[in-house]
């Protein structure tokens, strides 16, 4: 069996166990959240041995070359020595500067990073609390501001979201990232764009929309935002204003129930495909609930969108906290 050394001590990796599971079982307090390689909060560095290739999927090549790997994706088959604190140098310290409600269950959290944090609107970051609790959120505002804007859905029992909703102004946090391929690529200013998402999937779409407008995008841009009911919609006035001010921008609010006159009632994927039965020339951006993103991706592809023209960001909700004995 492969031997594993973590920060100088020996850890046994059981059969079928991921490196993250083994470390947590051994009492190593490694930050972690999604467990599927998206949030990258369980980043560790191999100081000896070769990291398994599958544990470097999605990492920036500069990090992969330095031997970083994601513990949740690693199932080591050869000897490995890892360091858990090497990744601490990759985080940027930040402070929470404001928390305001956007809807019944969504808050806008503003963060002030202490150092430069370059990103593309639509990418996501991982927010780490001082105790190591980690969650990923999309960045909704454009680069160039002193602040980063996040839209956070406040979940019942959500450890990070409940804490943020309590308004910890001034609290120290750390940021890691950015990650994600769901951003405005530019290049084809006449291409029609379709931006569809549910819930706080609007955050990256709002960033992408503003990025496209800033770049002088000429083709039509249609934003479709889905929610269970009207109370789940937010940024309605801002989106309506943008659509009024820009002839090429359209905004549709879709709800499953209780639609008013200016809303469409129905599932977002049905509304999307009914409005755009042929997506052969479109660039499509899909964000939010993972199941719906997957469905919309498949349907958009079958409606003619090229795979390379579909960018998506499926939001993974962290599993509820494990009961402690």
């Amino acid at each position: 069996m492969a031997s594993l050394q973590c920060d100088g001590r020996s850890v046994e990796v059981g059969p079928g166990e991921s490196l993250l599971e083994a470390l947590l079982r051994a009492g190593v307090p490694l930050p972690h959240s999604c467990r599927v390689g998206a949030c990258q909060s369980c980043l560790v560095k191999a100081t000896a041995g070769t990291p398994p290739a599958e544990a470097q999927v999605g990492l920036r090549s500069s990090l992969a070359q330095q031997g970083y790997l994601l513990a949740c994706l690693a199932r080591p088959t050869t000897d490995l020595e890892i360091s858990t604190d090497a990744a601490a140098g990759l985080t940027v310290p930040a402070r929470v500067t404001s928390v305001v409600p956007l809807s019944a269950d969504v808050i806008r959290v503003m963060l002030a990073p202490a150092d430069a944090f370059p990103y593309r609107a639509g990418q996501y970051l991982t927010l780490l609390r001082e105790d190591g609790l980690a969650r990923s959120y999309s960045i909704a505002n454009l680069p160039g501001s002193e602040h980063l804007e996040l839209h956070v859905r406040v979940l019942p029992g959500g450890q990070m979201s409940q804490w943020l909703a309590s308004g910890p102004i001034g609290a120290s946090v750390s940021l890691r990232g950015p990650n994600g391929e769901c951003f405005y690529g530019g290049g084809e200013p006449d291409a029609p764009l379709v931006l569809a998402g549910t819930g706080t999937g609007l955050a990256p779409l709002w960033g992408i929309l503003n990025d496209a407008l800033l770049a002088g995008h000429l083709g039509p841009i249609h934003v479709l935002h889905g929610a269970r009911g009207p109370g789940g919609l937010y940024l309605v006035d801002e989106l309506t204003r943008l659509a009024t001010a820009n002839g090429n921008v359209a905004y549709s609010a879709c709800v499953l129930e209780g639609a008013s006159d200016e809303m469409t009632q129905g599932a977002l994927d049905d509304v999307l495909l009914k409005r755009f039965p042929n997506l052969a020339e479109h660039k499509v951006f899909l964000c939010g609930d993972p199941t719906l993103v997957q469905t919309m991706k498949r349907r958009a592809f079958l409606a003619g969108a090229r795979l390379a023209d579909i960018r998506s960001d499926a939001f993974v909700t962290a599993p509820p906290p494990q009961p402690t004995n």
Binding site: Q294, K297, R298, F301, L302, G304, R306, L307, A308
Partner: protein
């Protein structure tokens, strides 16, 4: 000259994958085998396969093909589904401008992996 180069190399294969994958998903005889798969990873695998059968640079191994399809055998994957793949492959290549002779050549190559796909020992 390989069909791969004649049709335009990697860019042509990207286009072929889009058409091929869309046909497979739209065909009820085989669509169920693609349920729940990561579309980008699936497209990458199809690209490797199409590159191989079109005579492009590849590092195809029968082992990969066996491992990838093994879980589908319990879902009923059999020769008729391989036939569907070869049928669509021909349609895609026709759409991209390949001749009947070239299509027959590709079909023969695709046929050669049939035993790997279905986890059979070579006859």
């Amino acid at each position: 000259m390989a069909l791969y180069d004649e049709l335009g190399g990697a860019a042509a294969v990207d286009k072929a994958v889009d058409i091929f994958y869309r046909r497979m998903l739209g065909d009820e005889r085989v669509a169920r085998f693609f349920e729940g798969v990561d579309m980008d990873k699936q497209a990458a695998k199809q690209k490797a396969f199409l590159t191989m059968v079109m005579g492009g640079p590849h590092n195809y191994t029968g082992k990969d093909m066996r491992t990838a399809h093994a879980p589908l055998l319990s879902k009923g994957l059999n020769d008729t589904h391989v036939d569907v793949v070869i049928e669509h492959l021909g349609g895609v290549l026709k759409e991209l401008g390949a001749s009947d002779a070239q299509i027959a050549q590709v079909a023969a190559l695709a046929n050669s992996v049939r035993d790997d796909v279905l986890s059979r020992s070579k006859a």
